[in-house]
Symmetry: C2
Subunit: 146 residues, 2 copies
DNA sequence: GCTGTTATTGCAAATATTTGCAACGATATT
DNA sequence: AATATCGTTGCAAATATTTGCAATAACAGC
C-alpha cells in the first residue's frame, strides 16, 4: 500500500471527508499498474462492497483529478481512464488516428514550462501531460501534413 | 468561407464521400470563432435541415479529428468541444481545478517537439496541444505542490 | 461517547456519446 | 444518363457520464 494513506490524509486536511468508498477507490487506483476506467474500478470493488455506486466512483475520481492526485486520460476506445499522479510520471503521446498512447520522457521540456509559468502564471503539471499527434505507424499512411 | 472547400476536397481525395451533412458541419465549424459542442452544431443546423441527426454530427466530428482537420477539447463543463485545426494555432492551458482554458503561444516548444520526433518517431501536432495544470487563480488556494 | 452540522452517498433520472443495422445516396463505371 | 458498389445516414437502442435530492454518516465540539 504505497501512498494511499498520504493521499487520504491530504484530502482530510483539505476539508474532505474520508469515507470507506473513497478509501477503497484510492487504494484500487494506487495498486493498479495500469490506467483504469470508472467501470473497472467499480467492478473491482463489487466483491468488497455490494453497495458502492458507480456515480460515487465517478465523483471520487473527479475529486482526485481536481485536487491533483489523479490523471484523467481518454482511452483508445474513447472512454475516460484514470491513474494516480505517481503512476504517470511521463508524457503521454496519444495518436489522434489510432488512439494508442505511447509513454515518453519529458526531460528537456522544463525550460518551456518555466517560461509558461513566468509568462502566464500557469503551473503546468508534467504528470498530466498529453501530447496529441501522429504515431510512427499512422504517420506513414497519412496525407495531411503540417 | 475560408478553407471549407479545401477540407472537403482533401477528404474526397482520402476516399471519403462528400455528403450535404458533412459540408454543413464543416462549414459551421469553420465559420465559428469559438469551440462548439456537437449539440451546438446540431442546433445551428436545424433551420437548414430538419433531418440531420446528432449521431451524424458526432461521427463527422470524430472523422475530422481523426483526419487532423479538427481539434477535440474537454470544455469547462466536462463536455467535448470541437474546433477546426486552423482555429487553434495556440496552446490550450487547461486548469485541472476550475476547468477554464487559457490560450498561450507555443514558440520555444519546437525544439522539444523535434526531439520527440527523432526519439520516438511521434509527430506532435501543435494545433492540438493541451497542457493541464493550475491557473493563476487556482494556484493560490492550492496546497498540493510538486 | 453523544449530538449537530454538513459533506457524501445511493438511487433514479437526465444528459452525453457511441453503436448496430437497414435504407439511402455519392461516386465510379459503363 | 443508368447502374452497381459500398460508404454514410437516420433511427433506435446501448453505453457512458453527470446531476438532483433525500437519507446517511464523517467529523468537530461538547
Amino acid at each position: 500500500m504505497p501512498h494511499c494513506h498520504t493521499t487520504l490524509q491530504s484530502l482530510r486536511q483539505l476539508g474532505f471527508r474520508i469515507t470507506p468508498q473513497r478509501e477503497m477507490i484510492i487504494e484500487t487506483l494506487a495498486h493498479s499498474d495500469t490506467h483504469l476506467s470508472a467501470e473497472e474500478i467499480h467492478q473491482r470493488l463489487q466483491p468488497r462492497s455490494k453497495t458502492i455506486n458507480l456515480a460515487t466512483v465517478y465523483r471520487t475520481l473527479d475529486l482526485l483529478v481536481e485536487q491533483g492526485y489523479a490523471t484523467r486520460l481518454i482511452g483508445k476506445d474513447g472512454k475516460f481512464l484514470y491513474a494516480t499522479r505517481q503512476h504517470s510520471r511521463h508524457l503521454h503521446l496519444v495518436c489522434r488516428k489510432c488512439g494508442r498512447t505511447y509513454p515518453a520522457e519529458y526531460e528537456g521540456l522544463q525550460p518551456f514550462l518555466e517560461h509558461l509559468k513566468k509568462t502566464y502564471g500557469f503551473q503546468v503539471e508534467v504528470e498530466h501531460l498529453t501530447f496529441s499527434g501522429l504515431c510512427p505507424d499512422c504517420s506513414q499512411s497519412n496525407l495531411v501534413t503540417s
